[in-house]
């Protein structure tokens, strides 16, 4: 496996960006990504839907973070907001900071942002068939990004594409460059997507439910691939998933989202061994799992997530929470630290604050 050579950025905007990056040579004391109070609303005739509401988290260089939650919790919109890919209108990032490798992404021009996205952030989505262009060969699609952003010649881009296809484990890679997406199976298409995402050696890979449409044995292949690629290239990964098991096996840190909020964050062992937010605990218990003897009823979470159209001032999980008390319905708690084995365990829950009533 050869690491493709990076070529200097050729455009003027790119040069400015490269200079900016070079200025910040000492990245040791810095995070790759710092997201602070990010809010994204969708403006509908009925009012503003608070899809992402004051979300904050950090990601280290080379780290894998799991963004876990159910549909509608805001995890995808969070990722799209970081890359400024939210459809506008109806969506709009209304506040917050997204500092990526020292640059505030929310202040970049569209053109500058396009460069950062192309070169520094790669994407893998759930359904490769809708993200791949069915009328272009995969070789062209992989090579295109390398030609645009790395300034490679046509021949060099083709070689680069063949290398990448091999890297992601597609057999006879060179022979398949001329094939179209429909000639690949679901798992192979997802590998092609990963090859495209890695074409410019991004510092961050955002994988949004990358294996939800795939069978478990294929899912295991793709996860193994992501694991080894992130190790080899030191690419940081944000893995967006509803599957707590995937997060447990892939991630160093996990943030749990509920109703537009991050409700718990921490290193993976703390989150799974001693969750400090009843929603996290309930999610872990509401699914049958292979490592727990079956039998009896599953614990369930009654009710539904709240309407995010002007949400109430209470804890958003309170109406469904078996541990709730009066204060939970009056005021929403902040994310506050919890004493745990690992660093930075925080939760949004009155009941598990110091002196709280949840053991």
């Amino acid at each position: 496996m050869t690491r493709p050579e990076l070529v200097e950025i050729s455009t003027r905007e790119g040069a400015r960006l490269a200079a900016q990056l070079a200025d910040d040579a000492d990245r040791h004391d810095r995070r790759l990504l710092h997201v602070q109070d990010l809010s994204t609303y969708f403006f509908t005739p009925g009012g503003a839907v608070h899809a992402v509401d004051e979300v904050s988290f950090d990601l280290d260089y080379g780290e894998t973070l799991g963004l876990v939650g159910e549909s509608g919790s805001g995890k995808t919109v969070t990722a799209l907001s970081i890359a400024r890919l939210v459809a506008e209108p109806p969506g709009r990032i209304v506040s917050g900071e997204v500092i990526f490798d020292g640059i505030d992404l929310l202040r970049l021009s569209r053109e500058e942002m396009r460069l950062v996205r192309g070169r520094k952030i790669g994407f893998v989505f759930q359904d490769p068939m809708t993200s791949l262009n069915p009328t272009l060969t995969v070789g062209r699609q992989i090579g295109e990004s390398a030609r645009t952003h790395l300034g490679l010649s046509r021949a060099a881009a083709a070689r680069h594409a063949a290398d990448l296809l091999g890297t992601v484990g597609i057999p006879r890679a060179r022979d398949r460059l001329g094939d179209y997406p429909h000639q690949f199976s679901g798992g192979m298409r997802q590998r092609v997507m990963i090859a495209i995402a890695l074409a410019c050696q991004p510092m961050l890979l955002i994988a949004d439910e990358p294996t939800t449409a795939l069978d478990v044995t294929i899912q295991a292949q793709i996860m193994e691939l992501l694991r080894s690629l992130s190790r080899e290239f030191r690419t940081a990964v944000i893995l967006i998933t509803h599957d707590l098991g995937l997060a447990a096996g892939m991630c160093q840190r996990v943030s749990v989202m509920y109703a537009g909020r991050i409700v718990e964050s921490g290193v993976v062992d703390d989150i799974f061994e001693r969750p400090r937010m009843p929603y996290t605990a309930a999610l872990l218990d509401s699914r049958a799992r292979l490592d727990i003897e079956p039998g009896g009823r599953l614990r369930t979470i009654e009710g539904l997530p709240p309407d995010l159209l002007d949400p109430a001032a209470e804890c958003r999980f309170a109406p469904r929470c078996p541990h709730r008390r009066g204060i939970c319905l009056e005021r929403e708690p902040d994310m506050t630290p919890r004493p745990s084995a690992g660093d930075g365990h925080t939760a949004r829950c009155w009941g598990t604050e110091p002196g709280g009533w949840i053991p």
Partner: protein
């Protein structure tokens, strides 16, 4: 023939069941081959038993479920319900028999007519089978909605007013309307959010208890299948490759494919995930139009590789055979597979958590 309770006649039986779909091509639409979706399957389901059916997409599990209640015609072989051959039934007899067997679908959005009220959806099978009329029918609809945990006042609402989990409950109420004995549950929780999946699994288990139902529970979620099933069957490329009591199939799987499947299921415990040894299968599932010679799994089998690619795996298709009582597997080297520790996840009794 593998039958766990020979002393009692099974409710549902399949014997040598095949369902093939023609592949036609060219402007003359000539038949050029066939997709062998279900390709020679034999098993039985006892009364009040739940048989789980697992396998990856395209393995034929949904087609098999549909063939059992004759929503699909068999190409070859037999399906018997209460000892009667389904293929021999006349239209009227089949309609009467249909009351006894129902299906719950995966997609709670696509399987309910958006223009019908919930009351009309649940009442439809009652009318079709002329089970009740007027006041009695309305009363029955309310009773069914209550049974599945919905507010009986919802009868005049439309499907779009409900969440995914509630829609799945409506689907269950509709299936129960004709008082069936046997229900094919075809991926009933796959489209639902995690927090809702548990509610539907609990509901299906409660109903089974209260109404004495028999289920074929089809799912790709191996943990959910173990949770609800007495026995489990594993399908690969149109064949059942392993079948047996859930406890045996999950703790000492006798087919290399079952072990690979189990090892691929993520477990929400980082410590377990770090300790686990995985089998990562290479390649994709071959086409059911042209399954491999010999054992259908040998092209992806880790045990075949480990044993130095024995010739019989390539030339002789293994039959389902008992490895321990009613636990059976279709593998020439099932005993070797059983003595591997790959894939099995240790279980704790219950997670202690506030």
């Amino acid at each position: 023939m593998i039958d766990p309770r020979m002393d009692e006649a099974p409710l549902v039986e399949a014997e040598g069941l095949k369902v093939h779909f023609p592949i036609v091509s060219g402007i003359l639409q000539r038949r050029t081959g066939s997709i062998r979706a279900v390709d020679g399957v034999t098993f039985a389901i006892a009364r009040k038993e739940t048989l789980g059916l697992v396998g990856e997409s395209g393995c034929g599990k949904s087609t098999l479920g549909r063939a059992l209640i004759r929503l699909r015609d068999a190409t070859d072989g037999h399906v018997r319900f209460e000892g009667r051959e389904l293929a021999d039934l006349s239209g009227r007899e089949l309609r009467r028999m249909r009351r006894r067997m129902q299906i719950i679908f995966q997609d709670p959005f696509g399987s309910l007519d958006p223009r019908m009220t919930v009351g009309a959806i649940v009442a439809e099978p009652i009318e079709t089978h002329r089970l009740a009329r007027g006041r009695a029918k309305e009363e029955r609809v309310r009773e069914l909605l209550t049974l599945v945990g919905l507010d009986p006042a919802f009868t005049s609402r439309y499907p779009h007013e409900f969440s995914g989990g509630q829609r799945q409950r409506i689907g269950v109420a509709r299936a129960l309307a004709v008082e069936p004995g046997f229900i094919v549950c075809d991926e009933p929780i796959s489209a639902l959010d995690i927090s809702i999946q548990g509610q539907i699994l609990n509901l299906l288990m409660d109903l089974r208890e209260r109404l004495g139902l028999t289920y074929l529970f089809i799912s790709h979620d191996l943990a959910a299948v173990r949770h609800i099933s007495d026995r489990v069957g594993v399908m690969y490329l149109g064949r059942i490759v392993e079948i047996g009591p859930s406890s045996a199939a999950y703790t000492s799987p006798a087919h290399p494919y079952t072990r690979a499947l189990l090892s691929a299921v993520p477990v929400p415990d980082p410590a377990v995930e770090r300790r686990r040894r995985r089998v990562i299968l290479v390649g994709d599932v071959p086409s059911p139009a042209d399954p491999p010679q010999g054992c259908r799994f040998h092209t992806r089998c880790w045990l075949y590789e480990r044993l130095g690619r024995p010739e019989d795996c390539r030339s002789v298709e293994p039959e389902l055979r008992s490895v321990n009582g009613d636990h059976a597997a279709a593998c020439h080297y099932a005993e070797r597979a059983m003595h591997s520790d790959l894939g099995v996840v240790e279980t704790a009794l219950e997670a202690e958590r506030p």
